[in-house]
């Protein structure tokens, strides 16, 4: 139902002009959206095309639109000389472990906050709120000192542990679990099931939808996370993809655009493919949590 559908009452002869005007307006909207849409996606198309050009062609003035000669040399360079496999593995391992941790830990806390009565619940909830409000930029200096002190610098631990219970995930799970009828849980309690059993056998199997949203939000966050990995990963074998790309792009190869664009494609493509496949969950994640 759009605002432009006319009600039967309004559909009189007098309104024929209005209807025609609306059709024109709608046509212009399609046209405008088409133009803006092309502009919108242009940077990403330009990235893909550039990544397939030879070094000589990329320097050509004026720039060529369609590659005269397609080449994969820029991608080959990432795989053969630039350790792409290592960076990709790091990004994937960190993202997947972060997601798994969040699924389990956010659900656990969400369940406790939603369905259990205990002392200190308000304080705990306050702690989650604080976590939501404190930006990483305010924390990375002391975090680095702490992580150095416990000997975690330059390990997967440093890249994963700080992000294992994202507050957004806690809210998401709590909100959903609150909607599960108390009767189901009470019935399980009367049957003598312990809380862990209720959580894992009764509650979690109902949580498919929020877990999907949570997984996607967390994966996206981890894949694109930058400031902390930049600080915590100190050698090539720990770099995640954005860190590797940023350092390559600001070092002595900063004008090596063929390789840089190929690197950008390699960082962006997996997440865009994931987005196109699971669009619904991405957009639901934004709309329901109202948070990035």
């Amino acid at each position: 139902m759009t605002a432009l559908t006319t009600t039967p009452k309004a559909r009189t002869k007098k309104n024929a002009g209005v209807v025609r005007r609306r059709a024109t307006l709608r046509m212009f909207t399609y046209l405008g959206l088409g133009v803006v849409g092309i502009l919108w996606i242009l940077p990403l198309i330009w990235m893909v095309l550039g990544s397939l050009k030879t070094q000589a062609e990329i320097l050509a003035k004026p720039p060529t639109w369609w590659p005269r000669e397609f080449t994969l040399e820029n991608f080959v360079k990432w795989f053969q000389e630039l350790n792409f496999g290592q960076f990709f593995t790091n990004s994937v391992v960190v993202a997947i472990l972060t997601v798994l941790g969040n699924i389990v830990f956010c659900s656990m806390l969400g369940y406790a906050l939603a369905k259990m009565e205990f002392r200190g619940k308000k304080i705990l909830f306050g702690a989650v709120m604080v976590t939501l409000m404190v930006p990483s930029v305010a924390l990375f200096v002391p975090m680095f000192v702490i992580v150095s002190k416990i000997g975690l610098v330059n390990t997967y631990g440093a890249l994963i542990l700080p992000f294992l219970t994202q507050p957004i995930g806690v809210f998401l799970m709590r909100q959903f679990i609150m909607g599960i009828p108390d009767e189901i849980i009470e019935a399980a309690r009367i049957d003598g099931a312990g809380e862990f059993r209720i959580f894992s056998r009764v509650v979690m199997p109902l949580c498919g939808a929020p877990v999907a949203t949570l997984s996607i939000i967390t994966f996206l966050f981890s894949w694109n996370n930058f400031l902390w990995p930049l600080v915590a990963a100190q050698s090539q074998d720990m770099y995640t993809l954005p860190v590797a790309l940023s350092l390559y792009s600001t070092g002595q190869n900063s004008t090596d655009y063929g390789v840089l664009l190929a690197g950008s494609v390699l960082v962006i493509a997996p997440i865009v493919i994931l987005f196109l496949l699971l669009q619904r969950y991405f957009i639901q994640g934004v709309a329901t949590t109202g948070l990035k």
Partner: protein, 319 residues
């Protein structure tokens, strides 16, 4: 919504079997045991919260009153307390003040532009067309999922002196500036890129807001002879105000922290014209001056915390 439903359901269940004393007693015993189990459920969060949130937050505060440097990492307690010296140094550093100005400009221009475009797209998608809605929504949302680092590389390439943007402008006979090497144009270029990347988020939130505007209001407006623009101005905008506020606060928190764009595209230059506060903090950290970096991050933290409080308010009033 779900909250109130489950709470009232609970209330009914409770009032259904009133005041049986043994029941109440058993319940309080259970609450005690449940308390222990509940904290077990919360344990992973509590640990992460203590080690990576509470302690750093306090440590950062403490560090901002010391002369902590990179050399003190192994023996953090040997540093000397310098009182407010770091804050004095900070606010007498013209580069820090400049960075506050740059961040402020980024936020003050970035937010209205992002909101305006997102709102325009949301209205066009929700009310202006009948087909291809999902297609356009996905199209405008794609930049949101991309890595800022990667798109910064791409935009740096687009904005080169002889890049796509200037070549296109040259077509129309316009001599474009050397965007990222021009003190006047570098920050606007970064704002445009941030807008491009963030519009999708707000667009989705605004579409959700638009869909909650009751259809009857538009019909009533039509009967009163209101045109498309009048309906937008007098019905849509007022009803959408809480959603717009939420959106504004939401992205302001992100914009206040902008860092990657400067790091990849300009390294804070030219002549500090894109030096964000986050970049300034990172730079001081890189120089090993942890005390000063902590003081600067506390200043930024307070600003962001205030914005977040507004966010919390906005979220609440939306519920």
């Amino acid at each position: 919504m779900t909250t109130t439903v489950s709470e009232s359901a609970g209330a009914i269940a409770r009032s259904g079997r009133p005041g049986r004393p043994d029941m109440r007693k058993r319940k309080s015993a259970r609450t005690g045991r449940q308390g222990l189990i509940a904290w077990l459920f919360a344990l992973p969060f509590v640990l992460v919260f203590l080690v990576f949130m509470a302690i750093p937050l306090l440590a950062s505060f403490a560090m901002s009153f010391t002369d902590f440097t990179a050399r003190d990492v192994q023996s953090p307690l040997d540093v000397s307390v310098v009182g407010f010296d770091q804050y004095v140094a900070l606010f007498s550093d013209t580069r820090f003040l400049k960075s506050l100005g740059v961040t402020g400009t980024f936020v003050l221009f970035g937010i209205p532009i992002t909101i305006a475009i997102a709102l325009l797209l949301a209205v066009a998608l929700n009310n202006g067309i009948r087909h291809l809605k999902a297609f356009y929504r996905a199209l405008f949302y794609v930049p949101v999922v991309t890595s800022i680092v990667a798109v910064s590389v791409v935009w740096r390439y687009l904005l080169q002196n002889d890049g796509l943007v200037n070549s296109t402008l040259a077509w129309f006979g316009i001599q474009g500036p050397n965007w990222l090497h021009d003190t006047q144009w570098a920050l606007p270029a970064l704002i445009v890129m941030a807008t491009w990347r963030n519009v999708g988020t707000l667009m989705v939130i605004f579409i959700a807001g638009l869909q909650s505007v009751p259809e009857e209001l538009y019909e009533a407006g039509e009967l009163d002879g209101a045109g498309t623009f009048r309906k937008f101005w007098s019905i849509t905008l007022p009803l959408l105000r809480p959603t717009l506020l939420l959106g504004a606060v939401l992205i302001s928190v992100g914009y206040l922290q902008f860092f990657e764009e400067s790091f990849v595209m300009t390294q804070g230059g030219p002549l500090d014209s894109t030096l964000s506060t986050a970049y300034y903090i990172y730079e001081k950290f890189g120089f090993g001056n942890y005390g000063l970096a902590s003081a600067a991050s506390y200043v930024l933290f307070v600003v962001i915390a205030i914005a977040s409080l507004f966010q919390f308010r906005a979220l609440r009033s939306k519920d």
